[in-house]
Symmetry: C2
Subunit: 342 residues, 2 copies
């Protein structure tokens, strides 16, 4: 259908208020440059006509879109939903809008998404993790778009990032199990090829064990995509392939919960016969009984803070390159001392 009234343009507002285009523009975008009464007249006219500024025109004139792009992997899903939401809220509060893209199948898809978002004029960009095509970063660099790495930390200090040390958190959780007396470990890891967080988490376990002179045999590690079902299957496979471990660490909470369920179904007592730990602290972790020992990941804060840092940088402020957030170990009931005789 043809619109009865085409959307009013700034020129219409100016005419209605009896001022020039330039004045109307200033009245709306730089109020302090305009005399009080004319500003009021313009605002009134705008309200009356239901004027909505034309974003593309403004973007063309200012080369700013007031838009931030974000490219998320969906794989380890629920935890990203919170970050996305927090980011969107933070942006909205500052008059910005979120351009969101997500990728399923790896870094080329991410590259394409970044290209599209830069083309759409994103003023800043939020990426997840440290694994990216060099070209992806080159595009951002060239376009002069500041970006923030989230979740992971760039230890080299070259890129702006906000997150926490996955390796460090993983070491803490392993330490906790070592302190309880465990010596035989197994890990249900995420996809370490496509996911640096999963990689670092696994590495953290190995590091902590190595520090006590212990090793994690390859047989005691399975690598699967994040899901409860895969947690179950992974645990079953470990049990079959290399039984005798007394503690299993999941690459994230759904995997750990899968392992937990598998224990329950097989009559393996937790934590009496088997300790189980996760990573992320999703809501469910605290509601199980016994509750799942895990690491609390500050996902909402990562989203919020990524937005704030980007704003600050766009405003020309200098922010510390690395922002590390706490990721505390949450000890609950699924971890305890190993059984006397395994």
């Amino acid at each position: 259908m043809p619109r009865s009234t085409p959307n009013p343009r700034l020129a219409d507002v100016a005419r209605a208020a009896g001022v020039s285009l330039a004045t109307a523009s200033r009245a709306l975008s730089e109020p302090e440059m305009v005399r009080e009464d004319t500003r009021a007249r313009v605002e009134e006219a705008a309200a009356m006509l239901g004027y909505v500024p034309h974003g593309a025109a403004r973007a063309l004139a200012t080369s700013r879109t007031r838009t931030i792009g974000a490219v998320f992997p969906p794989v380890d899903n629920p935890i990203f939903a919170g970050a996305t939401h927090a980011l969107a809220q933070e942006l909205a509060a500052a008059g910005y809008t979120l351009l969101l893209a997500s990728y399923d199948y790896g870094l080329d898809e991410e590259l394409a998404a970044v290209r599209a978002l830069v083309g759409r004029g994103a003023d800043g960009m939020v990426l997840v993790g440290m694994d990216h095509r060099p070209e992806t970063l080159a595009i951002l660099e060239r376009a002069g778009v500041p970006w923030e790495i989230t979740w992971s930390l760039d230890e080299s200090g070259r890129q702006h990032c906000i997150g926490f040390s996955h390796r460090g958190a993983s070491i803490r959780i392993t330490q906790h199990l070592l302190d309880l007396g465990h010596r035989e470990f197994a890990v249900i890891a995420g996809d370490t090829k496509r996911n640096d967080r999963a990689r670092e988490r696994l590495a953290g376990v190995k590091d902590a064990l190595a520090a006590r002179g212990l090793k994690l045999p390859a047989k005691r590690v399975v690598e699967v995509d994040f899901s409860v079902a895969n947690g179950r299957a992974g645990f079953a496979k470990l049990l079959e392939r290399a039984p005798g471990f007394t503690a299993v660490i999941g690459g994230n909470d759904p995997l750990a919960i899968g392992a937990l369920f598998e224990c329950r179904d097989r009559g393996i007592e937790v934590p009496g016969q088997m300790s189980v730990a996760g990573f992320d602290d999703i809501e469910l972790a605290g509601e199980l009984s016994p509750g799942l020992t895990t690491v609390r990941v500050p996902s909402a804060e990562i989203g919020r803070e990524a937005g704030r840092r980007l704003f600050a940088r766009l405003a020309g402020k200098v922010v510390p390159t690395i922002r590390e957030l706490p990721a505390p170990l949450i000890v609950r009931g699924t971890t305890g001392p190993p059984p006397r005789r395994p």
Copy 2:
């Protein structure tokens, strides 16, 4: 830092290819209008220079942004993550981008988000549910932006929508419990004031009971925000306020799972003493043992289909106003016949 090379513009590409601006434009956007060899030359030049079209300029000239807006409530979160992802993927495949906003505190926030997205030039809009400020729809109408209602169905047939009948699904689940022999029901509902899906789900239970001449006493209904913790608390409250029911229906899966956990902690056997049913079929529902009886909500398909319908309408095609998707009852182990003597 000053960019060493400013981003190339179409004029640079044209010059490099030895053609006019107009031809370069057509070579990239309407290949069939241009001779094969010139097109090749232009493409080569574009690739060489790393040309990225300037979205705002294009949008200004065409009054199309190739962007779709979506405004989601985060409340019942995990289920929306899937839909968002599917929508983003669908859009990306068609060269579109997702402008995402989410709201926490009700419809005025949604209105502001829609205003912002329309200002950013969204070509189409995805909304959730039937509850909106009249002004929200008026803005879309006026701007000529087609929108799709998702999750709910507009029975009046006035608005384009894709989803399923929450009431119908809720009736089926109640029916199933009635058929098993249950007569005393309780419901842990979502927030019916701010959420038409929660409202319809509750209404469905009442309808199904009424059809058999049964009533759902007010004491047997608690209303809470969606979460596992609230499921636990809600169930505890029901037990205290009006015990004697043999089946409890959760407004969504997390609520039902909360009830389930509470049963387990209190030593109430499921389904021996208490049947529990949910709504959504999140991954966990199928991994519990016994598995949770629930309704499978096609959330990814809703996201995908919303995108497709919008594309079709933008291309001038006519699509059926209402698209209803199946939401099958998934019977698992948490529902069974009521105990002989409650």
